[in-house]
């Protein structure tokens, strides 16, 4: 079976060792999990808020629980997964710091991707228009956005450091998944998104 995967999800998949146990928090239609199950023989589980996403995942033969990270992660035992994935969802959490700590309680490693609010177009937009930026990755206006806790690459590095969490891999990239080979200072200007492989 050949699986084609959205490039930004492929970056996440590349972080995951074959045969491991993976929890995908906010797994959407289960595309990433299905790829991981088929190509990397992982034991995969998902959490997804939308009924549509849950149904789409279950049809694929995946195991997904309808719920949200703010509330449902607490119920998972310590170290029950090798990896916990949180893709572009941290900014939508009510308590992102608690969620991040929870990810690394449940999983030995966490793969977290964020839309980078420090990217130069976002900064320019705010500077020139004086209004909260609406970008491709963050395409809602301030009053109806699910993204209530925006952060930049620097911000996430700061929070991770404050929690004593190690960044094992840092992969800044464009929206189309093209990897940018640069350090965090330049990446904070240029990257649309960034992936962090985190460990306690």
């Amino acid at each position: 079976m050949t699986s084609s995967l959205r490039p930004d999800l492929k970056l996440i998949a590349d972080m995951i060792k074959p045969g491991s146990r993976v929890l995908d928090v906010g797994c959407d239609d289960g595309s990433l999990l299905l790829y991981l199950v088929n190509e990397k023989k992982v034991d995969g589980r998902g959490i997804e808020l939308s009924q549509k996403g849950v149904n789409a995942s279950v049809v694929k033969g995946l195991f997904v629980i309808q719920g949200d990270a703010d509330n449902d992660l607490n119920e998972y035992p310590d170290d029950s997964f090798d990896y916990v994935v949180l893709s572009k969802a941290l900014q939508a959490m009510h308590r992102p710091r608690e969620v991040l700590v929870n990810l690394l309680r449940i999983g030995k490693k966490a793969v977290v991707t964020i839309p980078n609010f420090g990217q130069w177009r976002v900064r320019l937009d705010l500077l020139t228009k004086g209004r909260m930026p609406v970008t491709k990755a963050l395409d809602k206006t301030w009053y109806n956005t699910d993204n209530i806790h925006f952060c930049t690459i620097h911000d996430l590095f700061d929070m991770v450091a404050a929690e004593g969490i190690t960044v094992k891999e840092f992969v800044p990239h464009r929206n189309d998944g093209t990897r940018l080979y640069m350090g965090r200072r330049r990446a904070n200007w240029h990257a649309d998104q960034a992936l962090f492989l985190l460990e306690k």
């Binding site: 009924q51 849950v54 149904n55 279950v58 049809v59 694929k60 033969g61 629980i65 719920g67």
Partner: protein, 377 residues
Amino acid sequence: MSLNKGHTITLFKDKALALDSGATLQPVNVCYETYGSLNADRSNAILICHALTGDQYVASKHPITGKSGWWERMVGPGLLIDTNKYFVVCSNVLGSCLGTTGPWEPDPATGKPWGLDFPVITIRDMVRVQAALLDELDVKDLFAVIGGSMGGMQVLEWLTTYPEKLHSAIVLASAARHTAQNIAFHEVGRQAVMADPNWHGGRYYEQDKKPDKGLAVARMTAHITYLSEDALTKKFGRNLQSRETVTFGFDADFQVESYLRHQGSTFVDRFDANSYLYITRAMDYLDIASRYNGRLADAFKGAAHVRCCVISFSSDWLYPTEENKRIVHAMNAAGVPVSFADITSPHGHDAFLLEEPEMDQMLAGFINAAAKTRELG
């Protein structure tokens, strides 16, 4: 269609059934229905577990009411539980009154109906009888065990007691324990039955009157718990029953009263009052975690290979979302592969019996994916 008498089998003829209470039963008669046929590999059997006042007529005409099966929209050729593909078994539970041994049946020792001398049973006792039935039918293991409400409780006990016989399990609108509120409602129902002078200490079989009034009140109370407040309001509001104005009396002025009276009076034609006492008691006694030092997760330790699906309904206040989620979290903690959804529905607890497109989609996806892993796809 002719009157369907169904199949009857006698189990525990040589070796008595040991019940959770410590008592034994010997023999046990079981009435059941089957649909479709067992394949050569004997890998396509599905057991459907019925709810409190349900029966084995899941997809066939009820012999007393003449109504079509209680899940006929789900079970049949080409339907979601496709009887062209699967061998479906549904048996009347232990303690019930549609042919399976219960308090209405003669006690072999005296030749008279058991009445309250019938031993108190549990959900797990019902499951033990189902397992014995399947052995007799030469079904070694189940592709799936499915049930809603009390049927879901049986599915949970299958997972704790016979996990090695399961490939997949579906639990709808259920719970792993009865809460104080659940027990309270059941107690009101039982007291209504027992307060009826015709109940006669459970020995009404020998007289020409049954405790119909009491059983009808029990059913009326229970029926309220099956519906949401919204559903009742939408269906009836404060509408009056065939009258322009209230009568300043105690007739069924309101449509909702008339509806409940109808539910109560038709119920007594098809159900035995003592069976109602015994089955509600069995449900009240359910607290699976209590057998595992309060850790529900430990109950599912043997089921890590069973594909599970749990569904709750947003307006179900009898077995609410939180109770279903407790099951899911415990399964997760035990490493059981489980999918869960809380279906947004206005229909209350009864939603699991009704047409709920989101539930159907999820069940179809789950069953078909499970079938592929057992080469039934």
